[in-house]
């Protein structure tokens, strides 16, 4: 039969030589490899102090975006919810009242918006479906929790801080500082 790879090595069934039968020599060979690793670069990092950079395509916790005037971009069109394969997103829409123009970008907005992080699989399809650039997956994890309750994220958890009233908090949320 033709070999599947050119690097295949036939099993060597020759009787062992005297040096090999000594056994100690082979131990020594192994130990040289082991101790040579002391002088090599460590691949581990000290996690809480040092963090690895996220990949630019990392998909973490969701963020509901605001526009440059601080108005919510989401118009509750439901495309994220219909795109969601895990059915994690639910929302309730409302009509903007006169006087709320500084809060919501469009005449319709999401009065309630919830993502169940227990269901979410962080696939990012909601981000792709969004026609209004309203939902983004950030570079953070969902923090651990002892209760299931803590994983249902409402608008108070998801909305990015208002850039006009809380510029520092927004910059921090965007990871700019």
């Amino acid at each position: 039969m033709e070999a599947l790879t050119s690097r295949a090595k036939a099993v060597d069934r020759k009787p062992m030589t005297f040096l090999e039968r000594l056994y100690l020599w082979n131990i020594l060979k192994g130990m040289i490899i082991t101790f040579s690793h002391i002088f090599k670069k460590k691949p581990t990092i000290q996690y809480p102090e040092v963090k690895r950079p996220f990949s630019p395509v990392f998909r973490g916790l969701h963020v509901l975006n605001r526009d440059e005037e601080g108005r919510e971009r989401c118009t509750a069109c439901g495309l994220c919810a219909v795109a969601c394969p895990a059915e994690a997103i639910t929302m309730e829409a409302a009509e903007r009242l006169p006087g709320e123009e500084n809060l919501y970008r469009e005449e319709k907005y999401a009065a309630k918006y919830e993502i169940n992080m227990l269901r979410c699989i962080f696939c990012g399809l909601c981000e792709e479906a969004c026609p209004k650039d309203a939902i983004y997956l950030s570079e953070t994890f969902a923090p651990a929790n002892f209760n299931r309750k803590g994983f249902v994220y409402g608008k108070d958890n998801l909305l990015i801080p208002n850039p006009t009233t809380q510029p520092e908090a927004t910059a921090k949320a965007k990871g700019l500082n």
Partner: protein, 364 residues
Amino acid sequence: MSEQLFKVTIDNITVEVPAGTTILHAARQIGGEVAPPAMCYYSKLEGSGGKCRTCLVEVSKGSEKDPRPMPKLVASCRTTVMDGMEVKNITSPKVLDARAGVVEFLLINHPLDCPVCDQAGECHLQDLSYEHGKEETRYEFQRRTFPKVDLGDKIQLHMTRCIMCFRCVFTADQLTEKREHGILDRGDHAQIATFIQKNLHNEFIGNVIDVCPVGALTDKTFRFKNRVWFTKPVDAHRDCENCCGEAQLWMRGDEVFRVTARKDEWGEVKEASNGKTGWICNTCRFDKKEAKDWVIDGPSKINRHSVISQGHYVGLQKPTETLPNVLHGRQPKLLMDIHSVSEVNKQNIELSALDRPAHSTDFK
């Protein structure tokens, strides 16, 4: 005149239709992709059609007696068939190109606010532009805008979205005794309007919502409540002294979010069981928003390619819960009741009961 059947070939499929049938109707008898799309033509409304030009087809052979092709593309909703006529719809690149141009023209002033619009998901213009339109617009100018108008207390008119199909004007003219709205002004300034914002008081005026191919006329009692694809359409009926009482309910759980007339595969109001067109009255449409008002016949048939059919699992067989059998009848422990945590779909806030859109005050 005796019943004379004309042989007409549309996209190489031959049908026999009675004399006087339009090409569009003949194509609809074949069905499927052969039927040209129609934005303004409505078979249930007399005199409709001939305005939007989306149903343009090429007649490659006029008739058996005069086999010359027609010089220009013709509107299939207004052109009647001749014996031996040969029509090209999707097989003609000329037609497809012309249709893409028509779609581009229809979309010139359309605001494309589909994420906000309640018609999204069942909008004919949306389907048309997906199937026949181009991907991007070449239009660089300001789109025509109009302020929002309330036609009566239950109908909202977004003139910005209107494509001037005149269907609603024909509906009001033919279904009601006194039409109070029509087209004002001409050309680019033309608009559907009730002169001096006159209210429409008529038992059947709600049907203008159903005939509107876009989201220009929408139901205010459903406005922004839910997206159509999250509601489940069911056929239902009730005894109504005004209309046939056969309607389609758009439900979520036990809540009736919207009531519309039943539609056929062409998006037109279906015939009711009494043989007449199944227009429904305003009482059925706007006031009967409780499940107990209706006798539910069963889920409506929705085309599997429609977004409305998302989450409808036909023939779903739920597996039997084995845990109670194994645990001697004990139910499994529920670790979290989603209603105790979730802010959405609160039991004490019934949005479907409001006859206006929800506001921030409703969620306090």
